[in-house]
Symmetry: D3
């Protein structure tokens, strides 16, 4: 529906060209293209013009079979134990969300900071920074990740019109908001995954947009622009790009392992501990290893043929 | 199922004729027909014999397309910011509830007040006031709105039998209870919207019915008998009758606006801010205004033809 | 401090004479003097001009030694299990609050009801009903009991100035509010017990005063005007007047019992179960009974001599 | 998926033969076969080799039509008011769970107790007690009931592989865990009821298995091995075996009563209180009694013919 | 005050001789003297006749200077990270509680188990097991640690009479209850530390005593009989006896370190990082080491002279 | 006590000279001296070398008499409604905290960002950024304001040693942490105000320091470096410097008003509404105005004489 109020905004930018890489946003928290590149330098992938790592589309497709547990298995090394957030309402519990993090941060409105930001913008001939400024920058494959510090009333990042636009612009990428949404009835008819804390009839207000594609916090996670976002019905993982390949490969093995385990259980001859988590009997162990190798070959061949 | 316990009740009434308007309830909180008429005097509509405003059936039908956000847009003026309650379990998230508020209030049981009430009733030859007294007064198009102060155990306003009766009597009007229900499995098979705080196997007890069709509080809302109750998957709005026409008309425009906005997004040529919340380009603005006029005419014609 | 906002109010009254008994308040919920007398007819005590039962001052004094557990022991019969509320912040944990309930009810503001109330009042030449209307009616020995439905922001019944006035007017009676207070720093220096849900810097607002000295709900309790309010560091009991004498008498016995029990424990010769809850050894039992009789006589004599 | 961590365990057992009755588990809390038989001696049914009462399969089938309210009606006598637990996530809200309780208890890991337990086990030539030890003992018709003291992180009793095994081993009996599960996406595709507090990507850890088929606590309920577990969309009842027959018989009457009540409501001639909870008109009362008798006969005949 | 209700109990015992070691309690969970000795075999100290480890009185005295942080520093090795519980109301925030754990476990009452237990007891000519049975077994230096599964209403382990008795019997040892207490006003005048979840006017009821001096769970901790219980204003540590000596010695060093650190800060010449957590300047480092040695010698001498 | 773990840190800086203004911190969020000056340009006061506004010491002294309500009255204009945070544990409820905000932000640790930060620092020859880096920069009159996103375990900004240092360095300025502290027993003996979410025995860990003297969020407030922080027993206000003078002047009037109001109440002749919030009787009004003028003169004279 028509948003009756305007979100409070901070500062205008250069002319918002798509992915304009040379444009320093005049937002409260600055994080330059070079800083973004530096802090994500472990990513092995190419980048967007603005410096964001670009996990390849093929990996995004493969990641649609991932579950939280499979990411956990591949990401539980020291230093990366804080990449999971849950406690969200999940719009489509049966559908995995996968995409590249596009981050936005809001803070509580404060008149002086807000006014100074707007003056700065006006002096440079720029327009206000609003939630739509960010939304208009979204690319296919993006998941919009928004820190609205859990705000419910006046903390609604989008209603159904902008959610519809996002669906078109991101090719059904997705939304994670530590805050709320509005028009839940309308949004429930639009085919894009969403993770949100609550729904409310009020439009966004009494906040300032303080950063686009800067590091943000969602629950207990530090999210970086370009992280691979994977959401299932439990919660959301934010995967640093450098781990994506390994997690996907490991997940293939887990899939095969689970396939074989259930096949053996179907035979009805074994206790669970005979088979799981690994077969005790050396003959079974060998059978499993051959199965794993054969299926892995099949899967790799299929992946390569795409 | 059979209610094994009786709800505690307060006081008998005159012979409970349907909508008996001259009958002063001997309940703890009295609110006469004249008081009801006075306090709802802004309603432009006809009234039930008991004084309750009667929003017309045609408007109830039109209201089935409303969402919380559309009510918000039409009701956010000063003095009416407290008309929304949420935090309920919603029985049918995809189905809008619309109807006229029939209010009931309970309070914690207290032996002396309860006994005196019953004596008063007996002296006048009346029967006890129970939840069924109220339920038996429901009319087609009513939504039963019950203040049970959030009670879970012993705070169940109905089970499946009475819920079934209510569905028949109100023509699937609805139920809002700041308390609980029982027989959720049975209720889940009955086609009437319901908003409740929890479900519990216990029957209602340890409470007194203290008022029927008096002003009550649900969450942060003062609900008046005859309010138009609109529930979607987010929560429930209680709309004073005098706002209904305007909200409905405004909602028609919002529907058209959203229709047009999404059509333009489908074209894939625009940024969201080119179109939403209103088109920037004067040509687009004109296109929109013509579209709005044409569609509004169609809708009005259709509404009038009914 | 100066209250910067006015609480929203409902309706003016007759000239507010002290305890004016013939004056029907034009408040949303009416509860006439006769209704008040009827519903508290079990009270054996005299009444205020407005009909409120008046538990005698001498009993209020005796009640200062009561604890929640002693009230529990005297009030746990069927029909009176809902007379206790807790979960409050307690201003003076070591000081028992005792007094007669003076009740006030607020509801969420609603523009139409509010406006009609004010018009009704104006038509009769009356002033608005505010929190100060109620506070100005307080008598020595009263405890102000306020239903503000748990409101924190804009739900502050008093700040330090009105709290100071209340202390003077009630002779340090007390305050129970299911809502908040402001000026906690100032209030902490004023010698009157208070039980409140929270403290907040905002003044009261966005509410309507809907009843003075009507039945109200505090937590899970139905409070009647004139109830004896007893608060200790655990919570608050609302005692119907007809139980006061019995509870006080029983409490005397409990005090003696506890005195004797601890004396015996001090001897260091007994297991707890030899003595408590009643002595097992017939000789000890006899010793206890004689002690009880002697001490009870002393206490009764002392009480009568006052 | 593959469980990457091992649950911490306590103590090995004899050779885990299926239902081995003579084998005293060397777990922290011992509860011998004789103790189990003694404490469930009111059960009228036969027993498993390990002493657990075995509610007959035919009753399990009949119990699939039970709701929480019907159990409530048959179990609300003094001493059995604590047999209901709720607040769970319900995997299949529309599907009743019925089965015999197989209980397991965990406690927070403590290095010294854990080590001593393992040494005890090793000295006797036994293997560790893990969640799989318990799962491998499950029988057709069992519901696994697990006290994991509400643990979320590291408190996941099973993932999809073991849940699949349980489904096979219990013939879709069910799971109740006061703790969490993992692989919710995978589990959602497996046809077995489950009640759990939360879902989490971590495997079980930092706990010790302290008892199998001992009395355990789930919420406010003391659960005994062999209890009939009945879960609907509200919560879970744990029914002592001695009450099963009576509850089932009573439920048949309730079903008929509700059937008849709704039929009468369908006629549209009655107020709810004319019919419910029992018909007021002697003629209707008689009609109902005849209906009840006839339908009961039909049902009994049908039950006997099975 | 007089406890008006009796706690529900389970089973009688032998004649309750003080610390009677040969007496197998007929409680629901059995844990024999030998089991207790086995599972606490790492304790280097002597034992009570019932097998409980007896941390020496001298160490209890030294432990009165411990804080949670000092225990943390000495107990944070793998396998002992779950020994801390908080979230309690603390009766005396400024006073450290130290003593030997005497554990008691309750479970929700269940009529059949309760009845069978009582019959078992009667058959052996024993009395009921109540909270007083346990309290009468307390020794000087004991802290009563009670699992009442967080129960508030009817979950009050003691009132002021029994608390007074406990103070006498344990020489002001202490109380930790995952449940509630009553008579808080009375208890507040008695000189013994207490940690409790809530206070309530009801007496204990609707529960069964299921174990005395068995392993129990308090929050996330597995507590063993004989653990050294240390409570400060943050929470409670349960220290396995084998760690006590080391923690005390380490705490002496921490005390000296903190003493020296603050002395240096008092000089006003240093940044915090020059001094803390260890001095950077080698000269300062040497100064510190000499100070540590000298003070440690003093302390050790003082300890030995006692 | 000795901190056993090191807080995770981000990046080294230039040589940390006191208030070094030319030194760009290599922290994750950069906020240059010029940005700080720009965004606080409304401050009428002089500045620290690093650009932070410096509310004069004399105003800090005057502010010690402020309460939350007095700040509310002076700060409630549009755009500044979000400057209050509560829900803290308050170390010294009777003592007002006043000082200049020195802000620090932490985020959840993430191995790649942390490593890159450290490498950046090392390349420039700098040391790690830890909580001590920030603490060592504190000036007399500062209040350390820390965003630790509500973390309890591993979220303790200081223990008693660093708290002691802070007390010395800030001259008892104060601490506000949206996180926890440790050594609460030790801290309770040190004379400096503190507002914290919880206390825990663990040291800080699993976090990265991401900004010093940048804009941060505490609850619903955007805090700027140099804000005047005022804490009373309710909560904490963060006052932009440009409002300080006006709030202080207004507070003087409020103090006089309250003084006079209570004096009149002491006379016992008036209802509260005769006097409060302003006197109705013109004569009283005049009396008040004269009183106000006289006392204000006295106060101003006194202030000037300092």
């Amino acid at each position: 529906m028509i948003r009756a109020l305007r979100s409070t905004v901070v500062e205008t930018v250069c002319i918002v060209t798509l992915l304009a890489s040379s444009c320093a946003y005049a937002q409260l928290y600055t994080f330059s293209k070079q800083e973004l590149i530096d802090y994500t330098s472990k990513s092995p992938f190419e980048r967007f013009p603005d410096g964001r790592p670009k996990v390849p589309d093929s990996m995004i497709e493969r990641a649609r079979d991932l579950s939280s547990e499979e990411v956990w298995a591949g990401l539980h090394e020291d230093g990366f134990k804080n990449q999971y957030a849950d406690g969200f309402h999940v719009l489509y519990p049966g559908k995995t969300m996968v995409g590249r993090a596009f981050t936005v941060q809001f803070m509580p409105r404060r008149g002086d900071v807000d006014e100074i930001s707007k003056n700065k913008a006006r002096d440079r001939g720029l327009a206000e920074l609003t939630n739509q400024t960010a939304i208009d920058m979204l690319q296919p494959g993006d998941v919009l990740v928004v820190d609205l510090f859990g705000k419910k009333v006046d903390g609604t990042i989008v209603g159904d019109n902008l959610f519809y636009y996002m669906m078109k612009a991101t090719h059904s990428g997705g939304l994670v908001v530590d805050g709320s949404i509005r028009d839940l009835d309308g949004i429930s008819k639009i085919d894009m995954p969403a993770y949100f804390r609550s729904a409310d009839p009020t439009p966004i207000g009494n906040v300032m947009l303080t950063g686009i594609n800067i590091p943000i916090r969602i629950g207990g996670v530090t999210v970086m622009p370009g992280d691979l976002v994977v959401g299932d019905r439990e919660g959301v993982y934010f995967i640093p790009p450098q781990f994506v390949q390994e997690i996907l490969d490991r997940a293939d093995e887990i899939h095969i392992h689970d396939e074989w385990t259930k096949m053996k259980f179907d035979e009805g001859k074994y206790k669970s501990s005979d088979i799981y988590s690994s077969p005790k009997d050396p003959k079974l162990q060998k059978e499993y290893e051959e199965y794993l190798k054969r299926r892995l070959d099949e899967i790799r061949r299929e992946q390569n043929s795409k």
